[in-house]
């Protein structure tokens, strides 16, 4: 039913979204924890930076990434001096772009989840002999579980639907940087509406089912996980 090239694009998109979500959860958790706990007076500057990809046109982000990651850009130069090639027009470049682009979608739900736990459970754990690290893993993480689910799904789905940034820094190289949303665009450009429909409807269904699962799970958890 799907052409070879479409399946390749689908596979690439899934790979990109999974890898991006994984990296964002690893980087985003400590960042969100810090944002939720810090009393630093300039914290809001960092919060604004994290939220920037929400309002920035993807082409603007993509353009600056292209400049930075290309052979003449600072990151490109650095990569070359380390013996690597420039990141523009590579899968690795797409991962870097996606991580930045989807950052707020992961960090903000995590930050909200950590903030809603409040200080009290952490203090209780401290009086019961738990070290700061222990408290984080045994109390904060389990209580923030709904936040993690939301963060992972939003990060994954948002990366899956990425278009502008990918187009700017990845181009449209089948099998290497052509992701599913660009494949749809190509089909439409070529007036192949049937193929476009196939992929588009598939994505629509997938996104809906994913969100359904998240809201369903969060509803089930909220009964047990609310702090009383």
């Amino acid at each position: 039913m799907f052409a070879e090239q479409d399946l390749q694009a689908l596979w690439l998109s899934l790979k990109l979204a999974s890898l991006t979500t994984l990296i964002l959860l690893l980087l985003g958790t400590p960042l969100a924890w810090w944002l939720a706990r810090s009393r630093w007076r300039y914290r809001f500057v960092l919060e604004a930076l994290v939220a920037l990809p929400l309002v920035l046109p993807p082409t603007v982000l993509g353009f600056y990434l292209l400049v930075a990651l290309g052979p003449e850009g600072p990151v490109g130069q650095l990569m070359q001096s380390l013996g690597g090639g420039p990141l523009a027009f590579t899968f690795a470049g797409l991962v870097v772009g996606s991580v930045l682009y989807s950052l707020p979608f992961v960090v903000q739900p995590l930050q909200n989840a950590f903030q809603s736990i409040g200080q009290r459970p952490m203090e209780v754990a401290a009086t019961l002999g738990a070290s700061p690290m222990d408290r984080f893993f045994s109390v904060a993480l389990p209580l923030a579980r709904p936040g993690f689910l939301t963060a992972a799904v939003l990060g994954f789905a948002h990366t899956l639907g990425e278009f502008g940034v990918v187009l700017m820094i990845g181009g449209n190289i089948p099998g290497r940087t052509q992701v599913i949303s660009i494949a749809i665009y190509d089909h439409v450009e070529a007036l192949e509406y049937g193929s476009a429909h196939g992929i588009a409807a598939g994505l629509l269904l997938f996104s809906f089912v994913l969100l359904l699962a998240v809201y369903g799970l969060n509803r089930r958890w909220s009964g047990a996980a609310s702090w009383r």
Binding site: R120, T127, G129, G223, S226
Partner: protein, 355 residues
């Protein structure tokens, strides 16, 4: 295992500076109006206030010395917050085990069963916190704090968030603790009645300073403290069950100044009891009344008087070594010529058995 504390905490709009020692066992009530620093002091003792300075020694361990502060998770303490604050993601058993699992390896392994039995939680162990009533949650929180065999137990108004029915449900458990524990217990409260029932010692806080400290029965009867001038001022008397009178269904309770006759209770002979006499239920006569229905009449000496309001005077009497407060009108005090040293008789209209 005594406690030695000299602590200060400075915040923008509030400062705390106290110095006290506590005996190795017994309940000490931290009492005072809201905003006087009761909770801040408790948090400072637990190490939850990083800005605190001073000196704190619990048993043989130094918890605070100047800027050095042992982090809370290294202090052997149990802390019960105003709200139950159970871990929502763990069931009752895992909540209670949380502290147990984190004890240092060499520490004595206290049993979960003891804490569970002390608070009657056997049937609730597999429940999640949201399946418990407020009173049950608070009992779990107390058991969780006790399970680690702490060197000191801190209770921050554990009954404040509960309605009267739930309070009545927990108070007996707290009274049990009071007798079962061989550690210092600090109990924050602004309820005089709770203090009268539970505490042995009292730290009276006012605006972050210690106004007075000492045994509850002594502080309640001191005319220079606000406790003796509240509308329901009372005297607390430590006594002992001397026996029962089956004919009239009465009990005899001995104290240092005599013997009370009281409606019969079912405590065995020799049991220690705590009695409460409201200052408004005591009256003074110059000669012993013969034809009266009042059973409890004692010879006493007026020790001091203090003006209560424009019409009333609080009289502090001594029944042997036992002080007793009595509220009379200023006119009566003048008519009876009550002055310190005067010998009188007191009639106690009613006595309540607290414990």
């Amino acid at each position: 295992m005594a406690v030695e504390a000299r602590l200060s905490l400075v915040r923008e709009s509030f400062s705390l500076a106290v110095e006290f020692t506590l005996p190795g066992r017994g309940v000490t009530a931290l009492f005072g109006p809201s905003g006087c620093g009761k909770t801040s002091l408790l948090r400072t003792l637990a190490g939850l206030e990083p800005q605190a300075r001073g000196y704190l020694k619990v048993g043989d361990a130094i918890w605070q010395d100047g800027a050095f502060s042992l982090p809370p998770h290294r202090r052997s303490l149990g802390y019960v917050f105003q709200e139950p604050s159970l871990f929502a993601h763990l069931n009752v058993r895992r909540n209670i085990e949380y502290g147990l699992r984190r004890l240092p390896r060499h520490a004595e392994r206290p049993s979960l069963e003891r804490a569970v039995a002390l608070l009657g939680l056997e049937k609730l162990l597999e429940r999640k916190p949201h399946q418990l009533s407020g009173g049950e949650q608070q009992r779990v929180a107390i058991a969780r704090a006790l399970a680690v065999n702490p060197a000191m137990l801190l209770l921050d108004e554990p009954l404040a968030a509960l309605d009267e029915a739930r309070k009545a449900e927990i108070l007996p458990w707290l009274e049990t603790l009071h007798r079962a524990l061989a550690i210092p217990v600090l109990y924050v409260s602004h309820s005089r009645d709770e203090v009268a029932r539970l505490a042995d010692y009292l730290l009276l806080l006012e605006e972050g300073r210690l106004r007075a400290a000492g045994p509850v029965d002594q502080l309640f009867a001191r005319l220079d403290l606000p406790l003796a001038h509240q509308p329901d001022a009372e005297t607390i008397i430590q006594g002992r069950v001397a026996g029962h009178d089956p004919e009239y269904e009465l009990s005899w309770l001995d104290f240092s100044g005599g013997r009370f006759l009281l409606a019969r209770n079912h405590l065995p002979e020799g049991s220690p009891v705590r009695l409460q006499v409201k200052a408004n239920d005591v009256s003074i006569t110059l000669a012993r009344q013969q034809d009266t229905s009042i059973l409890n009449i004692f010879p006493a000496v007026v020790e001091a008087l203090a003006e209560d309001d424009k019409a009333k005077v609080m009289v502090r009497l001594m029944l042997g070594k036992q002080p007793l407060l009595c509220r009379v009108t200023r006119k009566s005090a003048a008519d009876l010529e009550l002055v310190p040293g005067k010998k009188v008789f007191v009639q106690v209209k009613s006595v309540a058995l607290l414990l």
